[in-house]
Structures are given as structure tokens and as C-alpha cells.
Symmetry: C2
Subunit: 312 residues, 2 copies
């Protein structure tokens, strides 16, 4: 059995490779939900949906969210009401949010709804939210005039295009949250635990902030393998560099290794970063070198194979 | 100034004629909201939207709800989740519900949101809900096995296609509801008050069940003119006959006249029903005969002219 800790796009692409090298039904993916928000009354879970859609092979090929071949009739219709639809949910994607919202209103847990949605898309791995409780990433940014402002994750990431300078990141509600049912047991029982190549601050960070998860990982440290999302000092995609620096994490695979050192015994780093291997070892993390730029599912599968072999 | 009490399709078609014969900005339309419901987390107000869309000239020409030229990408997407989308909301229509839901969640009243939506569609008449409080029509039906079951209005009307036998109709929450701001003042100040050709039981009935509205109408009885929705013993469209009979209201313009007699001094009946005029007069209601089948906006305008002249 295998557990993967996942954020959004990078994780989803890795998982697409992973399920080519292990039986998909043996995989439990624990997904960040601190990016979740409510838009126009609808419960939106960006990372859960990105993972689900990607494993279903129906994800939008470039944009990193939503479905392939989408239309935007509803969102475009909002313009009539003077709404700036900066969070552009597609029409077919909205069906997912309508379903999730109505099931949650009926009293279902996010875990239950996530299972139902994954089943509807024929996704074999078990996809679970990190928690059924509300945890919300809040990004505090500094404005040009010296003021600070705290934004919801999607406000910073999507509306402000991650351009504002980050001063602090908080995971509201994390301290009172509980891991979703089965998460700690899955980590305890897994042969291998993979930390997907996701943003260490806002994708993996919230998972680790749910009480119990980091400790459960630390107890399995020798079976935990991470994949660095940082290649040659920069994230492949996304704003990790704009978050890690301000929070005192070096923007390199070394910074990732140090941030994960207490619970992650092995880190896969890119072949272009091989020179950093000694620094990882100095931080107590075993370095495994591989091609980590997942240009397609075959490369992702090879990367997954490398990661699994590293802790086999 | 003119006040119109309105339900859905029949009222909307009448109002489209009315605004051809009076300045639209002089008209206040008070609309039934007891058909409102929440679908997949979204606040849907069928009659408010039908009136707004029709006055904007963007209503679907045949189906009696929604917008012309609609697509159903979102609703069709729900099928994946095993949801039977018997309440088929179109994509552009969904933008309205998203907007309404999000504004209500922000703390706006239904009156405020309704004004905003009407303005967005360039609708000149003032459209107001009967109440900002929740009033919900509940239809109790008799099943073949003798059991009774209470349904939400749309469950009976749309899902069961108004086919189940009606035993009782209740307006949940009506007793505790208050008229929306300005409704009673508008009735008191109006030169003319029109009861649109809407279902007397489930469209006009809820309006009259909001404490204060029926009394305010009764005080203006001589200035109140109704238009019978029943022609030759049958509704033009909709299930009025399946509701009036079981509730003891004769399915005829005479039944309508008797039901309205305490607050409506004049009723416009169809020329085909002219023989019923003496029965109306016997019920204390003045009968005015006109062509009430609104085949197009010109006929509706002539009907509106007749109605206004009757109490001028």
C-alpha cells in the first residue's frame, strides 16, 4: 500500500505517472484542502478536483485547473451582474461544485463527497481530503504603501496572480482540525509514503499543519520519499519561490530537504541539481537524483519508479 | 402609479402588455416567492426570474421558465454524479442564481438582490418579492396506496409534472412573514392594483397569505382589478385546475371571482365566459369581458388596457 501527500498540478502529474507503475487501487492520495473556498455559494476544492480530473485523464492540458474542452457560459453570464469573475469556473466543472455543495448541505462529509466524485470519474486510487474540517490558507501580503493585507489563498494566487509580496502564511483552523478518517492509519500502514512535488508552503504545508499528520509521517521517516518541486532554484510552475523565500526557506532542493528533514528520509532531486546532493546528506536527507521535469506521463512514471525504488 | 400582483408565466405575459400601455417606471410588480427553493446550494426564485426575463424580452418563448437560447452544460454535467436533474436550470440562468446566492450570503435582502438583477437586465418596472422572509408552498398529495405525502412546490410541479392528486396546500412560514419593504405602501398609494392572470392557489395565494397584503388590497377593493386565469373552465397553462378543485374553488372565472371577492372589485373574464358575468355580479364582483388569451404582446396590451379602463 502506498500513500501520497498531494497538492494540485505538480502532484497530479506525478500521480498520473505513479499509477502506471503501481496498481492504482493500492494508492491513497491525501490532498490539501486549505485552498478550498466558497465562490458564489459553491464549495470549490481546487486541489481535490485537479487530482481527480488528472487521474481521470480529463484535466485541462495546460491551465492547471478545470476540465479539458470547457465552456464558460455561466461565469461569462455573471458579467451582466457587474461581477468580475476572476475565478473562472468552467460549466462542466461547476457541475462538480454544485454536486459537492448540495451533498455537503445534506450533511455528507468532504471525505464522502470526494469518494463519490472520484467514483463518478472512474478514478481507482482512493482520494481523501486532508481533513473534513475547514482549514483555510491565509496569505498576508505587503502593499506598496507599507500596509499589510490578509487574503484568501485564491485571492492572492488567482486574483492577484501571486504577484503581491508575501509577508506571512497562516492555515486558519488547522490547529483545531482533525485528519480525515483513515489518513493516520493509512500513513502508519503504508509500505511507502510519497510527498508529491507540490508547493512546500501552501500545498504540503497545510497537510503537515493538521495535527497528527506530521508526527505520523515522522514515525515512518525511512519509508517517506519526497520529490523536490524545485529544479535549479525555481519551481516548475506556480508560486513556490514567492512563498519559500519570504518564509525563510531557501528556494532550492536543499531548502525543501531541510523543511522536510524531520519526516522525510529521502528526497528525489533533479539531475540538474545533482551538485546539491552533499548538502542534502548534510541535512540528514538521502538524495536520489532523477529527471524530475514531468514533460509527459512516461517521464512521470519513470520518476515515480525512481522514488519508489529509493525507499524499497 | 400601478401595482401588479404576479406569479410566473401568465403574469409575465400580461405585464409585457401592461408596460406597452403605461409608463413602465410607474409599475411596481409584487411577485410570489413561495415557489423559491434551493437547488444544489443555489437560491432559485422562479417567478421573480420569469417576470424579470420576460420584461427584459429574453425569456424562453415556449417553456415558461429560463432564458431564450439556453445551453445546459452544467445540468447535463450533473448526470455524471447520478443526479437526476429534473429541475433543468440553463447555464445563463445559473449565473443569475449564483449571483443571487452570493449576494444573499453577503447579507443582502431578496428585495435588494431583485432590484439589482432587474437593473442588470434593464427592466424599468420595479420588481419586488412579496417578502424577504422565507415562505414555502407545500403541496400534500395523495398516493395510489392511500398514503399522503407533502412535497415542495417544484417537486410536485416539475418533478411530478403536477400529476399527483392534491389534498392540501400550505404556505410554510407565511404566518410569520412580513411584506417586503414598500409593498403595503405601494398598494395603499396605487391608482390601480392589478391581480395578474396567475394561478389563484399557488401564485396569488401565497401573496395573500403574507400578513397585511390581503387587508391592504381589501381597503383598495374598488381600485383592484383581476384578470381571470381560467378560460372556459380551464387554465391556459399550468396546473390551476388540479389545485382549485381539491381546495374547493370552482374551476371557472366564477370560482376565481368568489375567491377574490373580498379584495377585488372587478374581474376581467374571457369573452368566451361572458355567460358567467351574472354569476360574478351575484358574488359582488363586477365582470368585464375581454379577450384574455394572450397570444402575443399586442393582445396582452389590449387586455391590460381593458383592465385599467375598468377601474379608471
Amino acid at each position: 500500500m502506498l500513500v501520497a501527500l498531494a497538492g494540485g498540478v505538480g502532484a497530479a502529474r506525478f500521480l498520473r505517472g505513479l499509477v502506471r507503475v503501481v496498481p492504482p487501487e493500492d494508492v491513497t492520495v491525501v490532498v490539501n484542502t486549505a485552498d478550498d473556498d466558497v465562490f458564489w455559494g459553491l464549495a470549490v476544492s481546487p486541489d481535490l478536483d485537479t487530482v481527480t480530473y488528472t487521474l481521470a485523464g480529463t484535466e485541462h492540458p495546460e491551465q492547471g485547473w478545470g476540465l479539458a474542452g470547457e465552456t464558460f457560459r455561466v461565469i461569462d453570464g455573471l458579467a451582466r451582474y457587474g461581477v468580475d469573475p476572476w475565478f473562472r469556473l468552467g460549466d462542466r466543472d461547476l457541475a462538480t461544485h454544485l454536486y459537492r455543495t448540495s451533498r455537503l448541505a445534506d450533511g455528507a462529509t468532504l471525505t464522502e463527497v470526494t469518494t463519490e466524485i472520484a467514483a463518478a470519474w472512474g478514478v481507482a486510487p482512493r482520494i481523501v481530503p486532508m481533513s473534513d474540517d475547514r482549514v483555510a490558507t491565509r496569505v498576508t501580503v505587503g502593499r506598496d504603501d507599507g500596509r499589510e493585507e490578509t487574503l484568501a489563498m485564491q485571492e492572492w494566487f488567482v486574483r492577484e496572480r501571486a504577484a503581491s509580496t508575501v509577508v506571512a502564511v497562516d492555515f486558519e483552523g488547522a490547529a483545531e482540525s482533525r485528519p480525515a478518517p483513515g489518513v493516520l492509519d493509512a500513513i502508519a500502514a503504508a509500505d511507502t509514503i510519497v510527498v508529491c512535488p507540490s508547493n512546500p508552503v501552501i500545498s504540503i504545508g497545510p497537510l503537515l499543519a493538521v495535527p497528527g499528520i506530521r508526527d505520523a509521517m515522522a514515525r515512518r521517516r525511512d519509508r517517506v520519499v519526497g520529490v523536490s518541486p524545485i529544479i535549479a532554484g525555481a519551481p516548475v510552475k506556480g508560486p513556490a519561490d514567492r512563498l519559500m523565500g519570504p518564509l525563510g526557506i531557501e528556494v532550492s532542493c536543499v531548502g525543501v530537504a531541510r523543511a522536510y528533514a524531520d519526516f522525510c528520509g529521502t528526497l528525489v532531486i533533479d539531475s540538474g541539481d545533482a551538485a546539491h546532493a552533499p548538502a542534502l546528506e548534510a541535512a540528514g536527507v538521502r538524495a536520489v537524483v532523477a529527471d524530475t521535469l514531468m514533460t509527459d506521463a512516461r517521464v512521470a512514471a519513470a520518476l515515480a519508479r525512481h522514488a519508489l525504488d529509493a525507499v524499497a
